[in-house]
Symmetry: C2
Subunit: 258 residues, 2 copies
């Protein structure tokens, strides 16, 4: 069945590895009959900074509270048109792929600013105005899939379980778990191209083939089994129950069985 | 002895908890006789997006490679004036405090964009043009101290060792370890104000007093004992030696003994 997929991209150079990977995702999805929506952030001249200009009609003109104004603006359709358009694409999408170069072990600022501005109170947090009642597995984006597709300058071993940078999955946990699973998305394992600086044509072709295979499987692959807040593992909604992941220390405790 | 401290701030509302914490840091440092430099990013209208405009005189006008152009521009003093000024402040500083609200478990885009643009090749990575030879404990910012001072909307238990968000220290590892220790800074434990939404005057005063005490101790406190790349724990410069932290899984393995 035909699906809608949103691609969010953060590299301005059309010939970069990142842009080449984006093209592979787009072509693969279209060849499968899916509808592709594109948010090419540099081409859109996306405003990265979340600030008072995001709230043209303030609830409180005296003191800027981002949470209060975000909720007010989202609820009353008073957001800026660029944010409204991105939210409409996000809400229409069955899946979202984030294509970006890993800069300082996170998203480039332009993409972080897409999250900061588009993931409004009432949509991505504070769902139904019920505080944190619906986070982690439930929320405004529940039922949609998400995948990070990144390019990395360094070698894979630096990002391995005992690699010097820390493991890639743990470094990306604030995004995969804290940003995408938080509002209810099903997050697929990250796709990474390592050694993405001065790649040979052969290495580039291998990376393209791997991504094509991942994208073909986008709606069939099993998501990372992050534990749902309201699935029983967090009885008080805050801390893991003692008997859950009792031998596991750190953020891996929040991932269940495959 | 009098020191120089750079404060980098990312909240536009002068009465926010973040701005109040900034004021505490500034007043405390000045009362100790230190010299304070301020980068108030919203007030400066800081350009968050790292793009082709960062390289007015390109090495390769045809194809934009961020790493190559960053190195070329830094080496030849061809960066934009705003970036040059921030690097001058950073290089003059004995310590840097980053004051920001935690948004989606990371920095607001405006501060991530300060890192993306100011942490140039040749300064914060690619030091001495020697690839990764000097990273993690050595590099262009060696000998300087750094501290994150953050405000967090949620309760502390959500960020505890088994809290649902993941532990705060692990969530911030891409910043403390991957961004600040990477170019050689000594990183102090993070200072966090939890429940920073609609704080009572009493809770605000308690938080101010705690930060004041931390800032007074800025040059005496012990940094997080991240393992240095070239200290022997990573014999090949990539992966931890088998006998180091052999019982520890995940990013905590990169922290040594206090």
């Amino acid at each position: 069945m035909s699906k809608k997929v949103l691609l969010v991209h953060a590299h301005p150079e059309p010939t970069s590895v990142s842009s080449q990977m984006l093209a592979v995702a787009k072509e693969t999805l279209e060849s499968q009959g899916h509808e592709v929506m594109l948010s090419d952030l540099h081409a859109m001249n996306w405003k990265a900074v979340f600030d008072g200009h995001d709230f043209p009609r303030r609830l409180d003109p005296e003191r800027l509270s981002f949470i209060a104004e975000s909720g007010h603006a989202y609820r009353n359709a008073m957001q800026t048109p660029d944010v409204q358009l991105e939210q409409a694409k996000l809400l229409a999408a069955d899946a979202v792929i984030f294509q970006f170069p890993l800069w300082w072990f996170g998203m480039p600022a332009i993409m972080k600013g897409w999250i900061d501005r588009v993931f409004a109170y009432g949509l991505a947090y504070g769902y139904k105005d019920k505080g944190n009642l619906y986070r982690y597995g439930e929320g405004g984006l529940q039922g949609k899939r998400a995948m990070l597709s990144i390019t990395v300058g360094g070698p894979e071993e630096d990002y391995s379980t005992r690699g010097i940078n820390g493991s890639l999955d743990q470094l990306l946990f604030p995004i995969t778990h804290g940003t995408l699973f938080f509002p209810g998305m099903d997050v697929l394992p990250t796709f990474a191209v390592y050694n993405a600086v001065r790649m040979s044509p052969e290495a580039t072709e291998r990376a393209k083939a791997k991504l094509e295979s991942r994208v073909r499987n986008l709606f069939a692959e099993r998501p990372i089994p992050f534990r749902a807040q309201n699935g029983g593992d967090y009885p008080d909604g805050h801390v893991l129950a003692q008997h859950i992941a009792s031998g596991i220390v750190g953020i891996d405790a929040h991932i269940g069985e495959w």
